[in-house]
Subunit: 384 residues, 4 copies
């Protein structure tokens, strides 16, 4: 069997993360999955060439369309700035390639819907870069819920907070532009958690949102003038899941002191769980059973009993890192291509997250609850 050929677009933060993952996945999971690193493209040809050599790609270039068309490229990895995702993903899909796209899928819900439908017609396998979901402990969390080990689910509290824009002196950048940074914290951070919430608890049926821009102006580093920030620092959401379970979600890019504080608490009739990404190797679990005097939240440390941890290390408690999650993400896509079964966070999920994100903005504008059942979303003229 010949392994899959990968073409990677972009050599920045995420491009490098994909490259590390593509280099490691075969070693970590065994020979069947070793990908061929076929083609690397960057807008800057020198960058592309230098990185291709360091990262072990067979060829390099600066024309992403050529990459999408290349016969030995089976999978296209899209790691470019957000506003470029749409057209690259569409080109790859139309060329019949499988697609591994960093989030967001697109900057508008309607663009996302077009991609979703194109991918469906092309029958290609896709994956979105929601890497936090690939944590073995998130799989445990999902199983606990799906197996009924937590009983009926009462409540969901989720958040994702960082502080990369907390300092008022941080200058104006593309992140502050609606056309490039999308809906700010909601786009950067919120999409990760919204997707994870639906992965864990099933679809959200209605939501209500409040968006806030605390730093309304920032200094343009070129002109030195104050410029108006076009998107929001904080998003706060009330929601209901289709199951009837209520929830809250909160996202901030100005949460001073937090670095990667994505987390959730989920309360059920038989137990509860707590997760926070800054301690990504820990899942806290409470079970409403056993002697009352000995109950409490326990801290489960990731180990080989939590697949696929053992592929990385046979010893428990030694710790996975953020880059390992990307290796799992790549591996999931490889398996999806082999089996024909979609991964959870494929382009449909990427599209839905985009629609939910648009619904939050709509709610903020109208100050009203929004029905976000899939049928309603697809019929809401403001969200497609």
């Amino acid at each position: 069997m010949s392994s899959l050929g990968f073409g990677l677009i972009g050599t920045g933060f995420m491009g490098k993360a994909h490259a590390i993952a593509l280099r490691s996945v075969g070693t970590v999971f065994g020979e069947r999955d070793a990908p061929r690193l076929r083609y690397l493209v960057d807008a800057n040809l020198d960058n592309a060439k230098r990185s291709a050599e360091a990262w072990g790609f067979a060829s390099a270039g600066d024309d992403w369309a050529a990459l999408c068309a290349h016969p030995e490229v089976d999978v296209v990895n899209i790691c470019t700035p957000n506003h470029l995702h749409r057209e690259m993903a569409m080109a790859a899909i139309l060329a019949g390639k499988h697609v591994h796209c960093e989030k967001p899928l697109a900057l508008t819900a309607s663009d996302a819907v077009a991609l979703r439908d194109a991918a469906s017609r092309a029958e290609v396998r896709t994956s979105m870069g929601f890497n936090y979901m690939c944590n073995p402990l998130i799989t445990v969390a999902r199983e606990l819920i799906r197996n009924g080990e937590l009983g009926e689910i009462f409540n969901f509290r989720g958040w994702y907070q960082e502080d990369y824009m907390a300092d008022p002196a941080t200058p104006f950048s593309w992140r502050c532009l609606r056309s490039q940074g999308g809906a700010g914290a909601l786009a950067d951070l919120g999409t990760h958690l919204i997707n994870m919430a639906e992965y864990l608890l099933g679809p959200i049926s209605a939501l209500f949102g409040q968006l806030s821009t605390v730093h309304t102006h920032r200094k343009d580093p070129v002109s030195g003038n104050s410029r108006e920030v076009e998107n929001e620092d904080i998003a706060q959401i009330l929601c209901k899941f289709s199951s009837g379970c209520p929830g809250t979600m909160e996202f901030s890019r100005i949460a001073t002191g937090t670095k990667c504080d994505l987390g959730f608490e989920i309360f059920g009739s038989k137990g509860s769980i707590f997760f926070a990404q800054e301690r990504m190797n820990e899942l806290r679990l409470y079970e409403s059973q056993g002697p009352a005097r000995l109950r409490g939240f326990r801290t489960i440390l990731a180990g080989p009993q939590h697949p696929p941890y053992a592929a990385f290390c046979p010893a428990p408690g030694h710790g996975l890192g953020i880059n390992d999650l990307k290796v799992i993400e790549v591996w999931n896509l490889i398996n999806s291509i082999a089996s024909g079964e979609p991964v959870f966070s494929d382009i449909r999920n990427g599209c839905r997250v985009q629609q939910l994100s648009a619904a939050v903005e709509l709610s903020n504008r109208t100050r009203d609850w929004i029905n976000v059942e899939q049928r309603a979303l697809d019929q809401n003229a403001e969200l497609v």
Copy 2:
């Protein structure tokens, strides 16, 4: 100088907590403050007599009106079931007594307003039983905010979760009745945090609420029939403070595994703080200064440098307990009577919390934001 005479109504959980505090406050803080335990009343005369002997009260009875009228009673402590607070507080105020009332002040906003106005006319000193606020570390938190040590405040996240109603098998009780248990989790738990939020950040100007009853029916322990629960298990709130700062608050009485999980995160331009009552001797602080490689959230352990901790123990890190907070609450009232200066959580705050709570319910009904500036509250026919 003759010390103050106290009359205590109620010998249950909170009555006992007040008695412990009244017994200890003189010893903890020194001779000036030693109260006279003058009169103890309980609906059950035997209970009253037995407890009076054990707790050191000079006399006992079953007539709370007589207690309120007694010439040697200077302060009336109201520790009865919630629905009795209103008339007892009113009687005490009209008799010119100072009042120390457990929350809630009343079951409706209009009753609370009547008490507030009566207390104002009578010029008595009052205190509400918001004991968590009396924590020396909450004082530190407030100072950090008021002094500007955290800079401009960006965001508030607060919560109060317990699990005393989490088990669906917990039978129907007075807590499930609107007439006695008020607005459920919002009343039991939320009022503590709403009051604390305003103590820390100043007034809330607008809010939006979602209330949910997960366990809609419970079994009546007498009849064995299923009865409809009249109030809510979960309250979720979006808000804006007058300062412009956005916030969220969430309350649940069915948060399996949590026992006294009242807490908050407050993010500012110069730093952030985190507090959670289950670790009431710890305050977490992040400061955006010093070498970047050494920054992080620190855990401040309560000690004698945090007044009035030293009155309890001269050694740091030894730990205060929940009953110590009630001692501080009593001491604050004694000082307020001596100085004529109101405490933060007096009857005005108790009334405002009642109005804010009503506003949350109104928002939940109307699915709309509610203006809760004090003037607006007092003019909103649905909230007075």
Copy 3:
């Protein structure tokens, strides 16, 4: 029945803690136990009078011998500087009084043995001020071990660290004198943990110790001269319990940043526990059972299911404080007097701790292991 009359010697830190406890114990535990605060003595008569009034003692004086002889005093509480404990305890015992003595019982092992033997002959009930042991969660820990719930015990790691002498600039004081401060960190801190270790695991049979004085000289605050410190900052101990279980213990008064870091880890064949006093309302438990993927250390929060927590508060997770432990200590002695059954930390334990402490010093001198079985201790001329 007439309640017990208490006579308290000393109005400092521990005197006040005893007074708070004596004032509260009846209220907390119910009428049967309400003590009479009969007599308060301090070397300074004004202090004694002022405190007696504030704390509710019937009479005051400056003659501790008179207190010991007073016919209405049933129990003598000794809260004076360490070097005075011996003669006061002996006088009280010889007067047939029950004794509640702060640790250390005496400054030498031979003095402690004399007191132990005198108390035994006098058939009085005694209690030593090892308050940390009175924590309801320590009772849980002991039960887990005694009931076999942790299986065979493999290993003990204990420590007690504070930083009250960490700063080299802290001046010379009585704490630095062998005649008053005893063996430094070993005496101040170590005795608490040594006693707790034997409470939990049974007797230690052999030990080996290393003592270190890091700050060998400190500045005399009066003369301004450098004086040699006569006792040690750090004690480090290897030991074996009679059960065969090995252990380590470590004590430091210069552990910068720690405030009340008394704690232990105990590992068994079926489970393990972890405790640390700075989070005194938490006990961590690991059980080697249940599904492997869900195992982990859980945090048990103190609650009413852990007697006698419920006497203080009926709600779980609300938190006891350090002063509450002293209330339990007083209550234990009251019950001991009523029942004739000794408490765990009575004068025999206080004596044994003194002997073990002497054995550590002997080991440090001889650089050899010391047999500390009780028979060997009593026959070791250097330890009696």
Copy 4:
């Protein structure tokens, strides 16, 4: 420039970890360092071939001597069972190859000394697999100490606990044999911490040790008979550093519930630090400065301000994993070869750790303190 050729011996747990690291190091750190994966050897030829294909090695075989002699192999990575390290390392050194050897260097101190001296004569660069040391936060810890930011160091407390042999039912294996498993927990776990202690605080000058075998017999899985375990479950050490600082170290392979609990506390006159591997992305720091009311242990989260974290991820708090430490270890060796400067944990450190380990065993036998200054070690007939 031609990159280095690597030959890897062993395809088990550590062999795979080296392979992952060799595959990633060029991508993570940039083109200059991309190694050539030249040769993979395993005792089982099929394993070798299959793994070579999956991991990207140019050739495979079952003859490690041929690998050591291969002209295109510049560095030999030794990842075989412990008792094979010695002869492989010696062959590689004598062939003039650089050596990257998993610990232990050898099973006896004298073998280790022979290797140390051979490497010195051959002037090859070496690295031992003490991967925990490669954590960017350990570099921060060392700098804090070396720069004097913690002031004078008072005390060291270190430990390394796991529970892989805690269950008495775990069968007899090579780990229980002195000839293969060495000194048990001391060899498996202790060597990591001993090396780290000297990395942080400089050389240990004297030590005293207690070794304990709790599970003295285990069932042979083949014969079904009970066999005597030849090495120890627990090692407990008192020590002094050359600086005069006292320390303790404790190692256990039967610490039920712990998974990778390597950690330390270091107390100094200006501050203290705490580290525990199970939360490897956190370093706790206390500084004795700033306002007293705001002091506390802070948690520093690993981020790009802690080199070389940024090579893995530009965003803070996202988390490194155990395999990333091996990448850093490989990178350190590559840089060492380029610069000619030794890494800290080279073969000299590996030898010293072996000698210190032997000294602990000697102390346990003689029940005496052992002088472990390097000169004394090299002259102690029992340790060379």
